[in-house]
């Protein structure tokens, strides 16, 4: 499955295979190839969804993945997914694909959206010109899928060859589009009406900030009763299990249930955050936000493609770092990768909710939003420093704005669930393991916490953080949080620390800042190493630790004035 970014390849893969792959109304969702299996009339087909590309002319990693696949793997057939809203632009790639001489089917996707905008395409004529079958579909609404399956069974056809220079191909695409596309005048479509306001020079940014605020209110305030309910449930379970005699019950109650439960009780916050983010992505608003801030980002040596990766970082830094593959400029790519861990991922949210609820109960949403904004500001300043020193150079970026869409509830649910599931899986693996480790080092040797390994480790490192005034328990939580940021909360819970009695609100804010900025988790470091090498991974760890230390020291100092 080959096509431009954001033409609905993954939606089509889901429609053909009944799969659960995450989609987005956002260019660059697929950066690695995905495979799905479908049985059509008793025959087994393996569909490979390749990263979206505009042509084979540039040098980005996703184009290399697609080109290498077509040349080395020699697929039986190419499904060329084309955006019916913008046929001419999509045809550049179609014409270049004809040179591979692989049987092909052209899929005119998003045909329902095109028709709404008064665009009609003569599929028969296009089929005759290209020499391949052409099928009209709407993957999101699952229209035209049966016809596509029938054509797949027939095996497609090797297209006519349209080789030539880029200029010649552009001209041919223009001529073909003129022949097959008819545009009727329709009333002003919703895109025009909303874009006029959402992209307004003066109102665009305030509207964007308002929407971001709504996201944090939804994540923090609306989810609150559910979080409290789950928290009470896990507290009860932990106390009940630990009330039995024996080390096993102590480990299960005070270690496993207290640790894992303390993290799992934040599932409502995480799910609500992902639900809102998915809504913004699927509705088509997110690329507008990217477009709005592109000019601003260029002042920091980044571009719109970097913004996509940075916004994805609000969910999880690992896929966000993989998303930098679509950035053509190597230096921009490295800079984006290095600053990505400063974007506050969902794993840090339980820490904020815990501390904000305890120290800033009246202004929890404001505190959380300010942490997210501080993360963005630090990321931008870091990018500027990197682009002016180690990674000097210019950058530019082109992006197509997708149509606004009322999100399909199934896709909205799928997107939210896939992301939330990742959080739950981590609770059952890394956090479970770390909770047991923390329980062990807090209970042995000697059975008293003051003589435990945890106390030894925490007290040994505490002097490093003494300027901030954090207790050794909180320092230990930071160390265990290196495995995964949620473990900070699990550790505090297993250690049974009464946080409110060991720190002041300004120390708590400095602590939240530190957890926002300090070393990325192990999985993120592994992703950085895999993408840009060991040297940069070491740099990312040292740089972020230094930034976190300095910023929290400043926050502690400033807090003392009040």
């Amino acid at each position: 499955m080959v096509g431009n970014p954001n033409v609905g390849k993954t939606s089509l893969l889901n429609a053909l295979t009944g799969g659960n792959f995450s989609v987005g109304n956002f260019p660059g969702v697929t950066v690695e190839k995905k495979e799905g299996v479908a049985t059509i009339n008793g025959k087994k087909f393996i569909f490979v969804d390749l990263p979206g590309i505009y042509s084979f002319e540039t040098e980005s990693l996703d184009e290399k993945v697609t080109r290498d696949y077509l040349i080395k793997e020699k697929p039986d057939m190419v499904l060329n997914i084309v955006n019916a809203l913008n046929l001419e632009r999509n045809l550049y790639l179609t014409l270049q694909l004809t040179e591979f001489e692989i049987p092909m089917i052209v899929v005119l996707n998003m045909i329902d959206e095109a028709e709404k905008e008064g665009i009609s395409i003569d599929a028969k004529k296009l089929s005759k010109i290209l020499g391949t079958p052409v099928v009209k579909t709407s993957a999101v609404r699952e229209q035209g899928i049966d016809e596509l399956k029938r054509e797949i069974l027939k095996g497609g056809r090797i297209p006519k060859s349209f080789s030539g220079s880029l200029e010649e191909i552009v001209r041919m695409a223009e001529n073909i589009a003129k022949e097959v596309v008819k545009v009727e005048k329709v009333d002003r479509v919703i895109e025009e009406v909303l874009d006029e306001v959402f992209m307004d020079t003066h109102l665009g940014i305030p509207i964007f900030l308002s929407i971001m605020w709504m996201m944090f209110v939804f994540t923090y305030s609306v989810a609150e009763p559910f979080t409290e309910l789950l928290g009470s449930l896990f507290d009860f379970l932990a106390t009940y299990i630990a009330s039995f005699d024996g080390w096993l019950f102590s480990m299960l109650g005070d270690g496993v249930v207290a640790g894992v439960g303390s993290v799992l009780s934040f599932i409502p916050n995480i799910a609500f955050l992902f639900l809102f983010l998915s809504l913004l992505e699927l509705s088509g608003y997110m690329p507008r936000a990217v477009f709005l801030v592109d000019g601003f980002m260029s002042r920091f040596g980044l571009n719109g493609r970097s913004v996509i990766s940075l916004i994805m970082g609000f969910g999880c830094n690992v896929p966000a770092i993989l998303a930098t593959r679509s950035i053509e400029d190597g230096k921009v790519r490295i800079a984006t990768t290095l600053v990505n861990p400063f974007m506050s991922c969902s794993a840090r949210l339980p820490i904020y909710v815990l501390f904000a609820g305890m120290f800033f109960p009246e202004n929890g949403s404001v505190v959380i939003m300010s942490l997210y904004l501080i993360g963005v500001v630090i990321a931008l300043i870091s990018a500027l420093i990197l682009r002016k020193t180690l990674l000097e150079g210019e950058s530019e970026f082109i992006m197509e704005l997708p149509p606004y869409m009322l999100p399909n509830p199934k896709e909205l649910w799928l997107m939210t669930w896939v992301r939330t599931k990742h959080f739950i899986e981590k609770a059952g693996t890394v956090i479970l393991g770390m909770s047991i480790v923390v329980w062990y080092i807090t209970n042995y040797p000697g059975g008293s916490i003051e003589t435990s390994y945890a106390a030894m480790l925490g007290k040994a490192l505490q002097p490093v953080f003494s300027p901030m005034g954090w207790s050794w328990e909180l320092v230990l939580a930071l160390i265990t949080g290196f495995a995964a940021k949620e473990v900070v909360v699990a550790t505090i819970s297993v250690l049974n620390v009464d946080v409110a009695s060991v720190m002041t609100p300004h120390q708590a804010f400095a602590y939240m800042l530190f957890t926002l900025l300090y070393m990325p988790c192990v999985a993120t470091i592994a992703a950085i190493r895999a993408e840009i090498g060991t040297r940069w991974a070491v740099f990312a760890v040292s740089f972020s630790f230094l930034v976190a230390y300095v910023i929290s020291l400043i926050a502690t100092g400033v807090g003392l004035w009040f």
């Binding site: 919703i190 009406v193 306001v197 959402f198 605020w213 709504m214 949403s365 404001v366």
Partner: protein
């Protein structure tokens, strides 16, 4: 255009009330960020009035409706009142225009 004037004045009043509430002069519990959102809605209505374009009113009522739904949910979840709830009166207009 009459509607644009009505909405501009209405949301301006809500912004002022929310501001007073956030400064604990009246009712209490308001938030400066809620003031910002209501202020943005007011500014959007006002721009629509100045440039005489419906699109600004459509977008403003869409934001106000979404915000009011969110504030109702927040009220149900936490008991915190915001004047943003009263933005719900813009919902019928937003739905009609979007349809």
């Amino acid at each position: 255009m009459v509607l644009a004037v009505v909405f501009t004045v209405y949301f301006l009043l809500l912004t002022v009330f929310e501001m007073l509430s956030s400064m604990n002069f009246w009712i209490g519990g308001g938030s400066p960020m809620n003031v910002f959102v209501l202020g943005t809605v007011t500014a959007t209505c006002l721009k629509g009035l100045v440039v005489k374009k419906d699109s600004y009113l459509v977008a403003a009522t869409l934001i106000a409706s979404s915000f009011s739904i969110l504030m109702i949910l927040t009220y149900l979840a936490t008991g915190d009142f915001s004047f943003g709830i009263l933005g719900v009166v813009a919902t019928p207009y937003a739905i009609k225009k979007l349809k």
